[in-house]
């Protein structure tokens, strides 16, 4: 007999209720139950970072959490990064402009990790970005363009904040 639970999870601002098996991983819940396939599954054991999502504002590997543990929590996935009008976020645009992706497999995790980092550290050095990106593997870009995108986005976000101030 399988062990199931009723859970309520807010994903990208929208509340979802579901009955899930206890052993269902959060990443599989997002992809299979909610059809949010933007979050990728690479290694399924916490090494690659492709599955990175935000849980209550902090990045986490969704292959290392059970969906039942997300009960009552607020999750942000790559689908939640775009602006309300559907436009790309500053960070997403910077990835496009700096060729920060090739195959795109690592990109959802890269974007979540960098979104958290740029929120907490608006003026990062290249070294800061390289360190925080150690948790996300990319097999295509050699990271150079991803770091460039991160620095570019940080600058544009600071400019936007200065304008609004």
């Amino acid at each position: 007999m399988s062990d199931t639970r009723k859970i309520a999870v807010t994903v990208n601002g929208k509340r979802h209720e579901a009955e899930v098996e206890s052993r269902l991983l959060l990443v599989d819940f997002l992809r299979h139950t909610l059809d949010l396939t933007g979050t990728h599954v690479g290694c399924e054991h916490g090494v690659c970072g492709a599955c990175t999502v935000m849980v209550d504002g902090h990045s986490a590997r969704s292959c290392l959490m059970f969906a039942v543990q997300a009960n009552g929590k607020s999750i942000t996935t790559i689908e939640g990064l775009t602006q309300a009008d559907g436009k790309l976020s500053i960070l997403q645009e910077a990835f496009q402009n700096n060729h920060g992706l090739q195959c795109g497999f690592c990109t959802p995790g890269m974007l979540i990790t960098l979104s958290e980092h740029l929120r907490d550290n608006p003026d990062p050095t290249e070294e800061d970005l390289r360190e925080v990106l150690t948790g996300n593997l990319c097999r295509c870009t050699g990271y150079q363009a991803i770091v460039a995108a991160g620095l570019d986005a940080a600058q544009k976000m600071r400019d936007a904040n200065a304008e609004n101030a």
Binding site: S2, D3, R5, E21, S22, R23, L24, L25, D28, E44, H45, G46, G49, T52, V55, H58, S59, A60, R61, C63, L64, M65, F66, V68, Q69, T113, E116, H117, E131, V132, T134, G135
Partner: protein, 292 residues
């Protein structure tokens, strides 16, 4: 689905958690999940009952005074970003920055890392360095264990079945203490091949008045250099002293594996311990200048 089926429990009190552990023979506590869940995904670990500790408020929190006290479920990030810990025990913050990655430190816990007890992990090495006392609780009560008795061997703690690690605490060193931590890993965030941590204080003449040194990654559990530490008291910390420390570090019996030979681990231990010690000395001298 990757993990084998299990019954999920999410107690909100320590009492309920230890009752569940007592009740079910094949139950495992789930802390941050950064080591246990990969093992479950591979089905290396197939507990019938999973006792999720993430909802137990009483297991969280950091207190900084004469002693530093951590609830076992305190997340690594909470210690990493605590300005009080940074003030009282900067070496712990520096060592934690080497633990995994941002995303894993956001979930991973102090107690989880101690119970997993990887020989190269930074948290066990830091607790060994500080002579931490660990509190284990079960339905029959609580007991305190010093870290060197808690770490029994290769990934093996002294916790008995049904016992839960609830709290870790250690005495803060004097504010003018010097510290140094060094490790070498192939990639940032990987488990270190070897690491070295040093704490020391100097007397008014600049001789060593208190000294502790730990080597991680070589032996099955982090090792204090107790013999050398005893000799270090009152020593003048000159080049010969640094050489003696690094020789002592290189004599820790080291493990071999498919990637790294024991001799290489010992070589790293000797280089890293000299670096850590130099840093600790510079730090202590600077700090004692400020205290004059």
């Amino acid at each position: 689905m990757k993990p084998a089926p299990f019954a999920y429990h999410d107690p909100t009190t320590i009492g309920d958690a230890v009752a569940l552990l007592a009740q079910h023979e094949s139950a495992r506590p789930l802390a941050g999940g950064q080591s246990l869940v990969p093992m479950m995904n591979f089905r290396y670990a197939t507990p019938d009952h999973l006792v999720d500790l993430n909802g137990i408020e009483a297991l969280r929190g950091v207190e900084v005074g004469e002693r530093l006290t951590f609830g076992a479920m305190t997340r690594q990030r909470d210690v990493e970003f605590s300005s009080e810990v940074a003030q009282a025990c900067p070496i712990l913050v520096e060592a934690l920055r080497h633990v995994g990655h941002r995303q894993t430190r956001n979930r991973g816990t102090i107690g989880g890392s101690l119970c997993h007890l990887d020989p190269a992990a930074e948290t066990p090495a830091m607790m060994m360095l500080h002579d931490a006392v660990l509190t284990a609780q079960s339905v029959s009560g609580a007991r305190d264990l010093p870290m060197n008795e808690f770490a029994l061997g290769f990934m093996t703690s002294a916790l008995e079945p049904g016992e839960l690690l609830t709290q870790i605490s250690f005495e803060a060193w004097a504010p003018e203490h010097g510290w140094g931590f060094e490790e070498y890993a192939r990639r940032h965030g990987d488990f270190a091949i070897a690491s070295a941590g040093v704490l020391l204080t100097l007397d008014a003449k600049g001789a060593i008045s208190r000294f502790a040194m730990v080597i991680g990654g070589l032996a099955p559990a982090p090792m204090r250099l107790t013999d050398f530490e005893a000799q270090a008291i009152s020593a003048t910390p000159d080049e010969d002293f640094i050489k003696a420390a690094s020789d002592a570090a290189s004599q820790v019996e080291a493990m071999d594996d498919a990637h790294v030979s024991a001799a290489y681990r010992q070589h790293l231990a000797s280089v890293l311990s000299a670096r850590a010690l130099r840093r600790a000395l510079v730090c202590a001298r600077e700090r004692s200048l400020h205290h004059v």
